[in-house]
């Protein structure tokens, strides 16, 4: 029932979003694009924006800290994304069993994901404290002398990865709902065919939750490139730039040294990287993601 009155009403209802798109997304994108080819320190007025062509990008490709921040972010993403997925799937499998008290367990496992990142950071600064932190005290029971964690360049990034594992509640929820969508008959059929529990997991569960894995992989990669608060609060990129995440470097360039053009160029490189990774995952998805016939087309 498309008529002009109804059409107008439709436009009116989406108007707030459309205005927002222009003012807070497309406009700024255009501005940022121009800025990435400019030199500007923001302190002097907008009139002093100076067009410098590809200079920012050239400088970035000779910038050691840029490569360091890429390295940190890639290591984090390559280790943490698969690690968190595996841990989350295993926990979701456990939480999917029908046992008494499961509600309480679910509550406990999900809880860390609602705690503000700043609070989590504060908590773990203390946990990682080499002298009186609970982690090294626990290790000491086993006769292990723990490292200085956040103060040791070779452990700091690892410490953040370990900490992140504590907060995978969101991912667990998504896997759990994926698991609950697997039809019981499939397991029964597989069992009748003599498949053991590992076999059932590999040939029923994994294909059935592959769309969920796919979704979480993309979110994980994007998350790695946007990692900020914990790195800012806990290590501020140190020691020796060992936790200089890409987003933190970008922040420093924009809001500490006020190199707005340079930082804008960094943000477009970030966008390109995220886009490339997402496209790789999407492109490859036809090979390993199984879609049940029931998804709606619109």
């Amino acid at each position: 029932m498309r008529n002009s009155r109804s059409e107008r009403a439709g436009y009116l209802f989406i108007l707030p979003w459309f205005l927002g798109l222009l003012i807070f997304t497309l406009g700024p994108m255009l501005f940022s694009f121009v800025l990435s080819f400019s030199k500007w320190d923001i302190i002097t007025g907008i009139g002093s924006i100076e067009f410098v062509g590809l200079d920012n990008f050239k400088a970035i490709f000779h910038d050691e800290l840029f490569y360091q921040s890429l390295k940190v972010t890639f290591i984090f993403a390559l280790v943490s994304v698969p690690l968190y997925q595996i841990v989350s799937i295993l926990i979701a499998l456990l939480l999917n069993m029908r046992t008494r008290g499961m509600k309480l367990f679910r509550l406990i496992y999900f809880m860390p994901s609602v705690i503000p990142a700043v609070a989590v950071s504060m908590m773990w600064i203390m946990i990682f404290n080499p002298e009186y932190g609970i982690l090294n005290r626990a290790l000491a029971w086993f006769g292990i002398e723990g490292p200085a964690w956040l103060q040791d360049p070779s452990y700091a990034l690892g410490a953040l990865i370990v900490m992140g594992m504590w907060g995978v509640g969101n991912t667990i929820i998504i896997y759990l709902s994926g698991l609950q969508g697997v039809p019981e008959e499939l397991y029964e059929a597989a069992q009748l065919d003599g498949a053991g529990s590992f076999r059932r997991f590999m040939s029923v569960t994994v294909p059935m939750i592959s769309p969920t894995i796919f979704f979480n992989l993309i979110m994980g990669i994007i998350g790695g490139f946007q990692y900020f608060t914990q790195a800012f609060v806990m290590t501020n990129g140190g020691p020796l730039n060992s936790t200089l995440f890409y987003n933190l470097y970008l922040y420093n360039k924009a809001f500490v040294s006020f190199e707005m053009g340079y930082a804008s160029a960094l943000s477009w490189i970030l966008f390109a990287i995220i886009l490339i990774f997402t496209l790789i995952v999407i492109r490859s998805s036809s090979m390993w993601v199984y879609y049940n016939g029931d998804d709606e087309r619109d």
Binding site: M1, R2, S6, A9, G10, Y11, F13, I14, P16, W17, L19, G20, L21, P28, M29, F31, S32, L35, I42, L94, T99, I108, Y109, F110, P112, I115, P116, V118, A119, S121, M122, M123, M126, I127, E131, Y132, R137, W166, I173, I174, L176, S177, G178, T212, F214, F215, N216, I222, Q226, T229, F232, V233, A254, F255, M260, S264, F271, I274, L275, T278
Partner: protein
């Protein structure tokens, strides 16, 4: 049958044990934080898990050492309008996308989905410059105003998916009876869309309560700080008095945990729905 039953119990026992170990890993850091927040300064450095004496006054000292209630007030000044703006404007746009057909709708909806992929960093710098030119730096406006313009692509998507599931007969019947589109929206669609609206409210609450980078960029004076930003400054300001720092940490965690406890059903449904956008 009996064999089967036995196998099950063994499996269950193992599951149960694993779950308990995992739950301990989750809970011990939290308990330790709470226990540290109740210790005396000297005891923080000792090897005891629980405090010998419970120093509740740490909390009293913490809320005065950092201006806790001022930061809370600032957080609420941002939170309340953002929640109203987000929920209302995302529902409005969701209704537009769910129930009307207009030229370019498919394309606009694709654009909406595409904006979810855009990292906030790309717009962060130009937005800062725009707000600076508008004289809004060190005010709450940059953190509030954008929420009134659509309330976020993901939220629109979430509510729109739900609204499409509401039988069309309901609003069509009302339309035949002469109800305006607006009253169909406020009297029929909004009340029926409670689950996604609550989910969006919770996400918005969590988002504002947790937001760190936004306040860090836009707020300069300490008197304008939000709780999340204030807590991080606390670490730098006082040569770390751990017990008080942990007391402040607990105070910031608590509202998020309480909201989660009471509204967990909606919270979990909302997160589950988020992965349904894979198609």
């Amino acid at each position: 049958m009996i064999m089967n039953h036995h196998k099950w119990s063994l499996g269950r026992l193992l599951t149960f044990l694993l779950l308990i170990v995992g739950a301990a890993i989750v809970l011990v850091p939290l308990l330790w934080t709470v226990s540290t927040s109740l210790k005396s300064p000297a005891e923080v450095f000792q090897d005891s898990f629980f405090p010998k004496e419970w120093h509740w006054d740490n909390y009293k000292n913490a809320v005065t050492a950092i201006p806790f209630f001022l930061f809370l007030k600032n957080t609420l000044i941002i939170l309340i309008p953002v929640m109203i703006g987000t929920v209302f404007s995302s529902a409005l746009c969701a209704y537009g996308f769910a129930r009307f057909s207009f030229k370019g709708k498919r394309f606009l909806f694709l654009v909406l989905l595409a904006t979810m992929m855009l990292p906030g960093q790309v717009t962060m710098i130009p937005m800062f410059i725009i707000f600076k030119e508008a004289g809004w730096i060190d005010t709450f406006l940059p953190l509030i105003i954008p929420s009134f313009f659509g309330g976020g692509a993901f939220n629109i998507f979430l509510i729109r998916q739900f609204m499409r599931g509401i039988p069309k007969d309901l609003d069509e019947a009302a339309f035949m009876d002469g109800a305006s589109r607006w009253s169909i929206f406020t009297r029929i669609m909004l009340p029926l869309s409670k689950p996604p609206l609550i989910a969006v409210s919770i996400f918005t609450f969590m988002g504002v309560w947790n937001d760190f980078q936004g306040p860090l960029i836009y707020l300069n004076s300490t008197t304008k700080y939000t709780l999340a930003l204030g807590l991080s400054m606390f670490k730098g300001m006082y040569n770390v008095e751990w017990n008080m720092l942990m007391a402040a940490t607990v105070l910031i965690m608590l509202p998020a945990i309480i909201v989660f406890f009471f509204l967990q059903k909606y919270f979990i449904e909302g997160i589950s729905l988020s992965s349904a956008m894979k198609g």
